[in-house]
């Protein structure tokens, strides 16, 4: 079992992280990666970048709890979460998640689950830097609904 969690203000190179992730695998049939890129289209005006704050070690602890839930729920061989903080320009990668399992469904679901956590509950504060000014962004209703899916399917 290989688990990497990293939060840093350094740039994320998805291909390099995926290469590193794959190099640690020995028995997995399926590898899923997700990378989230800062989008240019904001609510009202063009987004130049984001500013992302974390609160260590609360941010790391929260992610590690979600990682633990994923490991309990799906048979994973390896899992990686890399999240960037600080100033991130449009087009740059803000988050990278990779999962590996013998079964592709487990790898897909675990990556999807972790992304839902990271986009809704993770301890980050986010400011959009746009042509019309800077705006702090708080949770969207859709994000809560996405995350809700996992609790529902646990009790059903």
């Amino acid at each position: 079992m290989s688990v990497h969690v990293n939060i840093s203000d350094q740039a994320i190179s998805t291909p390099e992280l995926l290469k590193d992730f794959e190099s640690r695998l020995t028995s997995s049939g399926g590898v899923v990666s997700f990378s989230g890129v800062v989008r240019p289209d904001g609510k009202d005006s063009r987004v130049l970048g984001l500013f992302l704050q974390s609160y260590s070690p609360m941010t790391e602890n929260g992610i590690e709890t979600a990682v633990g839930q994923a490991l309990n729920r799906w048979p994973l061989e390896a899992l990686a979460v890399h999240h960037r903080t600080g100033e991130i320009r449009t087009g740059e990668t803000i988050v990278f998640v990779a999962t590996a399992s013998k079964h592709r469904r487990a790898a897909f679901e675990a990556a999807d689950f972790l992304m839902d956590y990271l986009k809704t509950e993770a301890v980050f504060w986010k400011k959009e830097i746009t042509e019309a000014g800077d705006f702090w962004i708080e949770p969207r209703e859709q994000d809560y609904q996405d995350n809700q899916r996992w609790q529902q399917s646990e009790t059903n």
């Binding site: 609360m58 509950e121 993770a122 301890v123 504060w125 702090w136 949770p139």
Partner: protein, 82 residues
């Protein structure tokens, strides 16, 4: 001395992300911090919002939590993920 951290939009209100201060003697519980910060920054109620949570030494606490010379207190608006 105590580090006080103002996360997210709160730093726009305070004009700084953190400060290191001596807590006033009448700030004995977490709820007192809210009124103290309100007065200090003329914050128009943002520190009183129930969705703004207080963490003491990295643990989220409720308003009734007593403060015993904490090292670090954080005001946390709702977290929105990355």
């Amino acid at each position: 001395m105590t580090d006080i951290l103002y996360f997210g939009r709160l730093s726009d209100v305070t004009g700084k992300p953190s400060e290191n201060i001596e807590l006033p003697s009448d700030v004995s519980h977490a709820r007192d911090l809210r009124t103290w910060a309100e007065a200090r920054f003329e914050a128009e109620g943002v520190f009183l919002e129930p969705t703004v949570r207080i963490a003491v030494n990295g643990e989220i606490v409720d308003d009734a939590h007593p403060l015993a010379n904490p090292n670090e207190i954080a005001f946390m608006p709702p977290v929105g993920g990355g």
